[in-house]
Symmetry: C2
Subunit: 121 residues, 2 copies
């Protein structure tokens, strides 16, 4: 994360690879990003669309993604409160690029992955 200029061919720790993969170490972050790829959503919509994650975890994920500049929080002064979350340009590029590639890969190779997993478990 701190050796941007260093050659990453051999010494892989602390290199750029980590800078991205760290974004995925939190289980729900990529899921939240994916859920927003079609456009902004309110907090509650998100929670319902994703399903299976607690308020606390959702809040943490949203804060983290905002802090990383991938999400933007838009609060409206209303009662009841209305808050929307939207991908920033940076976040959108991540979703449309690498995460789309990830999705394409699983569509093509997902079965192989599951088969291999079952064999050994």
């Amino acid at each position: 994360m701190n050796d941007q200029g260093r050659d990453c061919e051999e010494l892989v720790a602390d290199c750029r690879v980590r800078a991205v993969t760290d974004l995925f170490t939190h289980t729900w972050d990529p899921v939240v990003l994916t859920a927003l790829r079609r456009g902004p959503r309110r907090r509650r919509e998100l929670r319902a669309a994703i399903g299976g994650l607690s308020d606390k975890v959702l809040t943490e994920a949203l804060r983290r993604l905002c802090a990383h500049g991938l999400l933007e929080r838009r609060a409206f002064a209303q009662a009841p409160p209305r808050v929307e979350y939207a991908l920033t340009a940076l976040g959108q590029s991540l979703v449309d690029g690498p995460m789309q590639a990830l999705g394409d890969w699983i569509i093509e190779h997902g079965d192989e992955l599951l088969n291999a997993q079952e064999k050994t478990s």
Copy 2:
């Protein structure tokens, strides 16, 4: 992970997105994969090339990746023991496809990511 056929447009949890992103929830797994993209390596070479991870964690990562069908373990009956780890065809396709896309993205957008992070921390 178990609802392969389900529509993932809206309900994101337990869908295919997770099947891939779960591969990245373990910090070192993608690093190990990347370190093997040029060809097979012995355990010790790997540890040295990556740097900063313990024997235990390396072992765990290797076992997990083998179990998922992404890595192959080749042991030679020798003294001292010689063991090589190599990407399978499946693993290679993951590294050359999605992980390459991830690397390309960070090369292009890494600075934005770091700037945004520093602003908020």
